[in-house]
C-alpha cells in the first residue's frame, strides 16, 4: 500500500520528448486512470512508475521511499500488460507462481496464495491450462490473479482490456474496480478509452504530448474541462464546438459567428470583446427547436442514432461542422430536413481557440 508521487518526471528518447515535467500524486488506495490518445506518454509514464524505464530526470516516490533507481521487483509493483500478456509456454498456475518466484515463500504458502488469488478472480478451475487454451477474458483474469498474488504496493494496468469485446470489457471493468476497492490497493490504469476512464477512475489524469492536461475526478473532467483537448476527448457523444468571436452586444458579452449568436451566461458578464474563441456545448444540453430565433443554430439533419432510451441527432452546421444533440427516443426527422438548435448559455464552455485553454469567467 502506498502513496505514489511523481516529481518533475521527464523522459527523452533521442529527439523525442515522451514525458515532460510531470508532477503527479496518487493517493494510497486510489484508482487513477491515465487517459490519452496513443503516443501521449501515458504508457511511458506507467513504465517509469513500474521501473521498467529509467526516467531521464525527476524522481518517483512510493510512500516515503524514493524508488527512482529501484528495480520493478524492489518497488513491489504488479503489472498487467496490454492484451494481458502471459508466459505462453507456462500454465496459468505456473504463470501466477512466477510472481512469487523470488518471494522466498514456502511451497505450501505459494500454492495457497495462488489458489486464493485464483479464487478471487474466479479462475481456480483454469489453473492447469496453457494461455493459448484460454479465452481473452480468462487470460485477463489470470493476469489479474498473477498481479494480486504478489500483494503489491500498487497495481499497474496497461490497457489490459483493449483486445476484448465490448460486453466482456464492461464486466471486467466493474470486476477490476470491485477488486481494487476490496483490496484497497493503489492502482494506476492506462487506457485510451474515455468510457473506461470515466467508469473506473477515482480520478482521471488526461495526458497529451507528454504532459498532464488535466487531473481530477470524472465529474470534474466531464463538467469542467480545462482545455479544448479534454473537452473533446471526454464525453459521449462528443462535445460540440462552435468557432467564433466575442463581441459586446447591448452591453452583454455575446458569442458571434457567421450563422449564430449566443448571449453568454451571466458569469461572463465582465468579458471584454476578443476574437478566436471556441464555444463548447455537450450534446445532452442541446435542444431542438423548429423555429429560428435568438441563440439558435440552423442545422441540416445528417443522421439519427437510436440508442433505445434516447437518440442522438447528428446534423450539419452551415460551416460544415457536425453538431450532435441528444433527443428523446421518439424523435423523428428526415435526412436533409432543416432544424434549429439552442441551449442554455450556462451550460456552455468558452475556450481560447489559440491557447486551447478555458477563458476565465
Amino acid at each position: 500500500m502506498a502513496r505514489i508521487e511523481l516529481i518533475n518526471l521527464e523522459k527523452v528518447f533521442g529527439e523525442q520528448h515522451a514525458v515532460r515535467a510531470l508532477d503527479l500524486e496518487i493517493a494510497d488506495g486510489e484508482l487513477l486512470v491515465l487517459l490519452g490518445p496513443s503516443g501521449c506518454g501515458k504508457s511511458t509514464t506507467m513504465n517509469m512508475i513500474a521501473g521498467l524505464l529509467p526516467p531521464t530526470s525527476g524522481s518517483i516516490v512510493f510512500g516515503d521511499r524514493e524508488v527512482t533507481d529501484e528495480s520493478p521487483y524492489q518497488r513491489n509493483v504488479a503489472m498487467v500488460f496490454q492484451s494481458s500478456l502471459l508466459y505462453p509456454h507456462l500454465t496459468a498456475r505456473q504463470n501466477i507462481q512466477m510472481s512469487l518466484k523470488r518471494s522466498g515463500l514456502s511451497k505450501s504458502d505459494v500454492s495457497q496464495r495462488v489458489t486464493e488469488a485464483a479464487t478471487t478472480v474466479d479462475v481456480a478451475h483454469l489453473l492447469d491450462k496453457m494461455p493459448g487454451q484460454l479465452s481473452g477474458g480468462e487470460r485477463q483474469r489470470v493476469a489479474t490473479a498473477k498481479a494480486i498474488v504478489r500483494q503489491p504496493a500498487c497495481f499497474l494496468l496497461d490497457e489490459p482490456l483493449a483486445a476484448l469485446d465490448a460486453a466482456l470489457r464492461m464486466t471486467l471493468r466493474s470486476e477490476l474496480v470491485n477488486l481494487q476497492k476490496r483490496l484497497n490497493t493503489t492502482m494506476v490504469f492506462v487506457t485510451h478509452d474515455q468510457v473506461e476512464a470515466m467508469t473506473m477512475g477515482d480520478r482521471i489524469g488526461v495526458m497529451r504530448n507528454g504532459g498532464l492536461e488535466q487531473i481530477g475526478t470524472p465529474n470534474d473532467i466531464y463538467n469542467n474541462p480545462e482545455s479544448l483537448f479534454v473537452a473533446g476527448f471526454v464525453g459521449s457523444p462528443p462535445m460540440n464546438f462552435f468557432a467564433g468571436d466575442i463581441e459586446t452586444v447591448d452591453g452583454q458579452p455575446t458569442f458571434v459567428n457567421a450563422f449564430a449568436r449566443f448571449r453568454l451566461a451571466d458569469a461572463y458578464g465582465q468579458l471584454a470583446p476578443r476574437s478566436g474563441v471556441t464555444l463548447t456545448v455537450r450534446p445532452q444540453f442541446m435542444r431542438i427547436v423548429s423555429e429560428a430565433g435568438e441563440g439558435t443554430v440552423p442545422l441540416t439533419v445528417y443522421a439519427i442514432e437510436h440508442l433505445g432510451n434516447e437518440s442522438v441527432l447528428i446534423a450539419d452546421a452551415p460551416d460544415g461542422s457536425k453538431v450532435r444533440a441528444v433527443v428523446a427516443a421518439g424523435f423523428e426527422a428526415k435526412i436533409g430536413q432543416a432544424l434549429h438548435a439552442s441551449f442554455d448559455p450556462s451550460n456552455a464552455g468558452l475556450f481560447d481557440t489559440k491557447t486551447e485553454r478555458r477563458v476565465a469567467q
Partner: protein
Amino acid sequence: MREKRWTIWMTLSVIVALLWTLVPMYWTLKYAFETHSEIAAFPPLIFPPNPQVAAFFNIFGHDYTLASGQVVKGSGQAQQIMLGLRNSLIVAIVVTIITTLVVVPLSYVYARLEFRFKTALLMAVLLSVSLPPVSTLIPFYSLYVQLDLVGTLTGLIIITLTITIPIVTWMLIGFFRNLPPIENLARIDGFSKAYTFIRIIVPMAWSGILVAAVIAFLFSWNEYVYAQVLVTGSRAVTLPAAMSGFLFQVPNPEHLAASLTISLLPPFFIAFFLQRHIVEMNLSDPVR
C-alpha cells in the same frame, strides 16, 4: 461438383509435388541397389532389375555375394568412409552445439535490445554471410598452415562456425523479434536478464532454436568446399570429402549412391521429425 473438381486438382498437384521431390533422389540412389553393369546400361533402366544391397556392404569394406554367385569386392575407400562418417558426426554435433549456444543469445540481443553500434555490428555479421567460401579458401589455408590446423577436426569446426554463426543469427533475429514483449513481465516478476533469457525466453523460443540447430547441423554436415581442401587425405576427413573419392576418376556409381544414401539419412531423419517446427518460424526483417 466444384468441390469434387478441386479434390481432383489437389490430388494431381500432390502427386506432381511428390514426383518432383522424390524422383531426383530416386534416380541416383537406386544405383546403390544395382550392379555396375546394370547402372551402365543404355538406355538407362528405370527400376533396378535385381535389387540387392551389395554396395552398402562394400562401402564399409565387406565383400558381398550376389544371388548369381558373383562376389562384389569391398571398397578400399571403406576406411575413409567410416572415418568420414565418424568425423562428420563429430563436426556436425560440435558445430551445432556451439552455434546454438552462441547464436541464440546473440540474435536475441540483436532482436530485442536497443544499444549503440547495433547497426554496425549487425552489418559485420551480414558481411560474413556474404563471403563466398571460394574466396577465403586460400587465405584460410595459409592461415591454417601457420596454425598447424590443416587436417584437423578443430580446424574444420572453426571454419564451419564462421559459416553457421552468421547465417543462423540472421535467421533467428527475425524469429525473436516476433515474440511477445515478455521481458517486462519478467522484470515485474523480479527476474534478472540472464534468468529471463535462460528460463523464459529460451523455453518460449524452443521451435526457433530447434530450427536454428537443424540449420547449423545441415550446414556443417553438408560442408564440402573447405573439407575438400583442408581435411581430404587426412585423419580428419569428413564424409563428403571421403565420398568424393567415388566421384571423379574410377567409376563407382553404386558406392557413390550407397554412401550418398547414408549421408542423407541423418539430415532426413532430422528434417522429417522437425519440419513442423519450421512452420512456427515467422520471418521478420533483421535489419529493421
